[in-house]
Symmetry: D2
Subunit: 344 residues, 4 copies
């Protein structure tokens, strides 16, 4: 098969380098350009020695890069960049996957409130498809623009999905207690994510409100057809990769919940429902495009506990983006995503 | 002031060595004996080089040690040991603090179910006082036998206490999502707590039922005068020390919750209510006898979120034991417990 | 190409699971059996959830397993097992790669001294080829039995090799200061490698003598044709994977040392000489079959410093074993070993 | 005893907060001012919650702070600040301890080369005493200005000291392979010390030349009365605190080296020579003002190996500074420095 020409805008962050790792190993991809204004002229492998000998490109200036000749372009840029630069590519017929938040929220006012910027691409927002593959596969297939989900939203939505689609729990009082590895905060020079700050330490943050909250609520509402009440508390945990979401829901209709999850995800290549009584650990999905789930009902009470783990950089970002690319391009959905988790 | 003669039974685990660290620095303590059957004859400082030059004792055989001449003896032994050995000391007039679970649960049948042993000291169980100092200070003052609380129970109970005492939340559906550092699992040669297993990893465990669940339920029930419904999910997080409990409760009566907490703990030397909007991190209490709390009400909804952090080995074990000793012996409650947290 | 039938004896340790990860992704391998006496009957993926959906085998009893029908069998067993069990397979025409130390040392007396067992397979020892591929490739091609090198020996020998082959340094006073991640100590229930012991900590061990010392000395002596004097100090560092060897040698003959290394390794697919002035980090080879090297001459003095990094479980164990298998079986040497390092 | 009035200039870094932790617990210290231009007006305990309830001061502007009324002022500032601001205080009769590098090197030209600034206080440099207490105690007693040693220089010099004072090794070819926790890089927003960069990773840095090299060489030269040849390779290791220096020296004169070390340090309260055969770990000095040493002679060869561990923030910075203050002020040298190491 002739290679798909792929461009990456903004390859210097953690989702960027992870995307490069996956694309460089993808059997059908030809990496045409990786851009970074700040690093233009630097060899990609000088910045990320893990790619030495395998990625020969230099970072190029976004303006000079042959992005419009690509079949598909990924934006691994800070929030607000893709809404400015993607439209020109889209109009040139290039398909786009944005790994940032620019096209995730349907409601412009909500977006502007949480992201603190004026929204500049409302016409494209309407065409964007939310890239939670397990929910929107058919629409992704034909999408010109895919909004790749956030990491927390992926772990939380996949964990609640079967319950909400079937109307089995009280959607007014859902709780998502989520724990993320530090790479989730990005490759940014900030004190609170220094090793000497974040190591041997644990804390909650953003309890009053986190940008992923409206994204999760929007997704859950779509699943059940109604607005949901959700308390979402993210925590920073001293590991590099991984999200563990512990989800709590009050049962409103009896079912064999284990069975409900197994049925829903039976044909999903990247969602794995563990046997009853399991406790997935984040390392069981490290560096792999997988979500593993376990369902518990402690003491046979009326509270259901769902444990959901992903690698925030793979199923929570770059891996899911490649999965979406495969769907959009008519490739095997698993192409380039079959590396086994790295354990220990 | 003449020194209090103190004995420690079973000083080879993490609560044991932490107890020795605190006792060796206590201004009014004379350490008379540290026992360990397995390590009898070994210098304590050979096993724990951190104590070199400061603890001159050898581990002695429990039978040979002058425990009955002590004013007070700590048991830092596996569950089931203290109920066998403490009665003889108690009858000799020695006061006892058990850091294990032997005297924590009021109901023998419940204890036997969760700990899988026959209970052999029911007559002493009745006299035992549960050593959550902030709740039982007056009874601890005169107690002959104190059952020092577990680490999770300390963090969770201190976090729910003001709400339950005042009847402000739905006690039928409390949720405690707790995260512990790995030292909480003890100094035991087990594969799942190896560095290469527990590092860069995160997982829940014991969702179906953890031994601290009945202890927490008992304590919460006492606070509100009724049985409570509690979902308790513990997690293992890759840090040495620290517990972060994230507590969720449905509001049933309006109050200024921040104020409620500040009022309740105003005179407590070891509980610190942080300003509104705070997120305590576990390192802010590392190696110190402190519980720090923050209260949140996300989106002004009906769910209250309490964040509670302790060092599992200090306020969650050895420090609280020393606090209880101070109370029992009529010393300044803070004696020997004023070391500042170690940060970073 | 028809698959090669492969057996793994002792797949429950870290080198075992890493071998399974690599073999399960190898394009030409059919995994025929994984044995473990202790775990016979357990699904491999139940013990290592990272392999769920990809390795369908159960651990089987070594006696019942169809090992003699395999083309090649790996021993990932404790020292002393392979010398007992491999001969029968070898006599049946099965080729064997031992990842333990049984066939690494040429001198039986030295082996018995360092490993504290009687040596029982001297006739096979003579036929064994030491599997440092970059040194013995041609002999490995035709070997029936390959002794896969230890992790420290791989990092240290590849770092000294070009200097010793060319006679450029004082071989009487070599120094190897090596740092290993904790997985190097194996998946064993021992206190000193618990998370709470090894995390946030650093120490040397075995300074008086480590089992890898005679192995390294033997290899270095072969390179230069004479016995060498080597001071080898291993250290335990709080990371899961990775070895960083810092090597010191006194220059005895001037050369462009950077050039010497580049020339020696130009055609080696798994050894990467970094540009002048580089400092390789262990994560740049994490989960990949690579050794990266950098050469320094501080202050233009007479002491050369070589920095050598590998992943102890890959180029230091399972990856090198697969590399040797590829060579023995006439496959592309890189088959199944092209996964990129995982960073961050 | 009436309290000593103490000021701290620049209390927002890791050495600053560690200094505050120690000073706040010191029995004879009254903390008069903590300055920070950037944080003026912020409560110290808001920035460092570990100090809540114990340090009531706000950061004050250096100009407004009552520093000239202090008995002693610590500079915990970036290099180059103290040489500008200390002279005015010194002239006002305030004694000064600089924890940065401004007064460590005797030779202005060398200082300017390594620190890349023009040197502005040469007249004070002559009066400065290098604060390695174990070497210069008597001069420190009467010093107006003490240059507190760097962290690596403390660990390395204490490890070589007995050998060099007695002329027992080849001083032309000393090797110091040193490993530091990440807090040694300071509390600076830089990418390379992010958790996701430095965790689960190990690397050397500055092999071509590190600022501590001339400081160590100067100190070693003073010990043996001649210039020394030293190869110094620092490494970054994934732990918060701690330095482990592994030192190599060629023996030139036979002695009982263990005895030499024990004799030299017998009366030193903060240097602990371990029994023969020991391997000190960094956690055995965590959070304590201690250097622990072990001496090895592998294989009875001619190379001596010294293992030296300190906590870089305590004996390598703030603790040694307090030790020097005690000496300068005629206090018990151990006052405020008797906290036991925190283990685990």
């Amino acid at each position: 098969m002739a290679g798909i020409r792929v461009g990456v805008v903004g390859g210097t962050g953690y989702t960027g380098v992870e995307l490069l790792r996956l694309l460089a190993q993808h059997p059908h991809v030809e990496l045409a350009a990786v851009t970074s204004r700040a690093e233009a002229g630097t060899a990609v492998a000088d910045m990320f020695p893990s790619l030495r000998g395998r990625v020969a490109l230099e970072f190029s200036d976004p303006k000079a890069a042959p992005l419009s000749e690509c079949d598909i372009v990924f934006f691994a840029t800070p929030n607000g960049v893709a809404m400015g630069q993607a439209p020109e590519l889209l109009e040139a017929g290039v398909r786009v996957i944005d790994l940032a938040a620019d096209f995730r929220l349907r409601d412009v006012a909500v977006w502007e409130k949480w992201y603190g910027m004026r929204y500049t691409a409302p016409e494209w927002l309407e065409q964007a498809v939310y890239g939670l593959t397990e929910v929107n596969r058919n629409r992704i297939r034909v999408a010109r623009l895919v909004a790749n989900p956030g990491c927390y939203p992926t772990a939380v939505q996949l964990g609640f999905l079967p319950l909400l689609e079937r109307g089995l729990v009280d959607t007014g009082h859902l709780i998502a207690d989520a724990k993320s590895g530090v790479s989730g905060a990005g490759r940014k020079a900030e004190v609170h994510i220094l090793f000497a700050e974040a190591s041997d330490n644990f804390k909650a943050y953003g309890v009053a409100g986190h940008r992923h909250l409206p994204e999760i609520r929007q997704g859950l509402a779509q699943m059940c057809g109604n607005p949901v009440g959700l308390t979402f508390v993210p925590h920073l945990t001293p590991m590099i990769r991984g999200i563990h979401a512990t989800l709590y829901a009050r049962i409103t209709r009896e079912e064999d919940f284990q069975r409900v999850f197994e049925d829903r995800y039976r044909n999903e290549p990247f969602v794995d429902v563990l046997p009853r009584g399991s406790h997935p650990d984040t390392r069981s999905v490290r560096a792999a495009n997988l979500c593993r789930l376990a369902i518990h009902r402690p003491g046979d009470g009326d509270t259901l506990v769902v444990l959901s783990v992903i690698d925030n950089l793979v199923k929570g970002a770059a891996g899911q983006a490649v999965q979406n690319m495969n769907v959009m391009m008519g490739l095997d959905e698993c192409a380039g995503l079959e590396q086994l988790p790295v354990l220990p």
